[in-house]
Amino acid sequence: MPEEKSLSYYINKSKEITGVMDRKIRIGLLSSFTINGLKEILQVKSSERNISCIVYEAPYNQYSQEILNQESNLYKFLPDITFLIIDARSIFGEIFRFPYSISNSDREQFVEEKINEIKNLIDKFVEKTNSKLVISKLSIPTFSPNGIFESKMEYSFQNMVEDFNHKLTKNYLISENVFAYDFEKFVTKNGEDHIFDYSQFFFGDLKISMEYLPAFGQELMKYVIAYLGITKKCIVLDLDNTLWGGIIGEDGFNGIKLGPEPPGNAFMEFQRVLLSLHQRGIILAINSKNNFEDAIKVIKEHPHMVLKEEHFASMRINWKDKVTNMKELIQEINIGSDSLVFIDDDPINREFVKSIFPEILVVDISNDSSTYTSIIENIIDFSVLKITDEDKNRGKMYFKQKIITELEESTPDLQTFLSQLDLKISIKEVDEFTLPRVSQLILKTNQFNLTTKRYQETDIEKMIQDANFIVGCAQVEDKFGDNGITGVFIIKKENEKEWVLDTFLMSCRIMGRDIEKGIMAYIVNTAYEHKVKKIKADFLPTQKNKPIENFLPNCDFEKEENSWTYAIKSKIKFPEYLKIQVD
């Protein structure tokens, strides 16, 4: 049983949701069976994350009508995400019980027809709305009239469901708007006997039991988190009894528990799952009270350490308290504290960090190291709708950043330091290849973001096609390698004489190198070439974008009433240490 509250808790709690939330989401719910209560679960779970969640629930089993009718309430509702939850009983009809009443080839034909029906619905939906569509795959029923002989059957009932799922996934593999949800994984994790309760099915056509509906809602929250870009980016780890068993200062290099034998294997597996997250773009860092020399020796030399020095973007290993270290770590990595996850076996440290940084996801791990891996596996906050090349290389880039910071600290002045970096900026207009990353930056960047306007990929696509907009991005390279696309700007051409800077943002990891001045010089010079006389810009302050507060005055914009203006008289020079390439 997952650690979840009861369905009645969510139903009643949803009535008490009040107040203004940080973010908003509109969810459409379509299903082939009773999902009463799911709306309330999503609303409560969203409110716990400071998201105001408005849900449109289509009438019972009316998903086809809602999608096919151009004037349906679903379309009027303008959902951001629509969940279409279907099940094999409804889709397969009589064939669900009597798959072997038809021939092998008819079974194949049948699945083909069913997939086409769904595809037709999805195509209509995508044509009509910008909403993301999440469609559940079918769970594979365990019963077959053939019993254990099922696996000897050609194109068996099980194969039919698998084939349906496979085709559904394949059809939308590269789609930006359609996602197939692995419902069968949810069933595998929790068990068919728990998820599907015949009594509830007969009584009210429930195909996800009331006990497990909250856990299912938790699964759907992954899409909400990913859609809103409130994904956690960094895991901050303690060392003793977290990455290894025992205390290095007391048990010594040879005494700590880390290796193929229990209980050391639990720590190794925990490190492996962390490494797998790191490889897909989650940053790792250390916040530990320890003698630096003792701990670093383990990290560098212990034969069973899975995580190595190069996997950590920051290592705060000292005798300062965890909060002080956390503050320094946040500054060093240059990351929003709300993107952090903190893992520490000591409840006092956890409470202390939680009390100062309520926005950090502090994971309550028990003193049983065998549970660590599953705790990490169950965190839904790392969910993303897309993994870009930048994500995959993020870990390496942060490690590189650490080396750069060390170089900066050993160089006498900023100009010398910057000129040693061999900075090169490639500025280009956004195209289909750069769009996913640009969209990701627009949704996620908080700190160096002038207006914090959030646009979905489809919004940006429209701007790219609109001659009144320039959507540009900047790729930054230095002597340590390529940082990828780390800057975005959107210009709205108000008229022939005046451009407006709608969006200007940069990833925090390249802040402090005057890259922004280079990009701004490019914008001004381009405007000059178009005979534009002024550029207007707004700075919209949020709780997080203080780093960009002085950007406009630093670029010689002047304040006019509530807005900032730059009067273009001539081209301006790029900073000397920046090489600019325009594609």
């Binding site: 009861s6 369905l7 009645s8 808790y9 139903i11 009643n12 009773t34 009463n36 209560g37 009594s199 509830q200 007969f202 009584f203 009210g204 009331m210 006990e211």
Partner: protein, 79 residues
């Protein structure tokens, strides 16, 4: 055990424990919709570790019916 029963009814139906009587049902409890009535049975099943048969579930019209079915499962709901 009746205390536990009343707590679950109170939690699911959002009514004060003091207001719960045997006669209450869908007509007298605002939150007792057909779905919520089923949620109540489900949470009683979890709370008392019992299972109602489909006939029992369909038979429930008020609190007294719930008590009767629980008694049949050897749950003491009168103390």
């Amino acid at each position: 055990m009746s205390e536990k029963l009343y707590q679950i009814i109170s939690k699911v139906m959002k009514i004060d424990i003091a207001d719960i009587t045997d006669e209450l049902g869908p007509e007298t409890i605002e939150n007792w919709t057909s779905f919520n009535g089923y949620v109540l049975l489900n949470e009683l099943e979890t709370g008392f570790m019992v299972k109602f048969t489909i006939n029992e579930a369909m038979d429930v019209k008020n609190i007294a019916d719930i008590k009767r079915h629980l008694r049949n499962k050897e749950i003491n709901v009168d103390e």
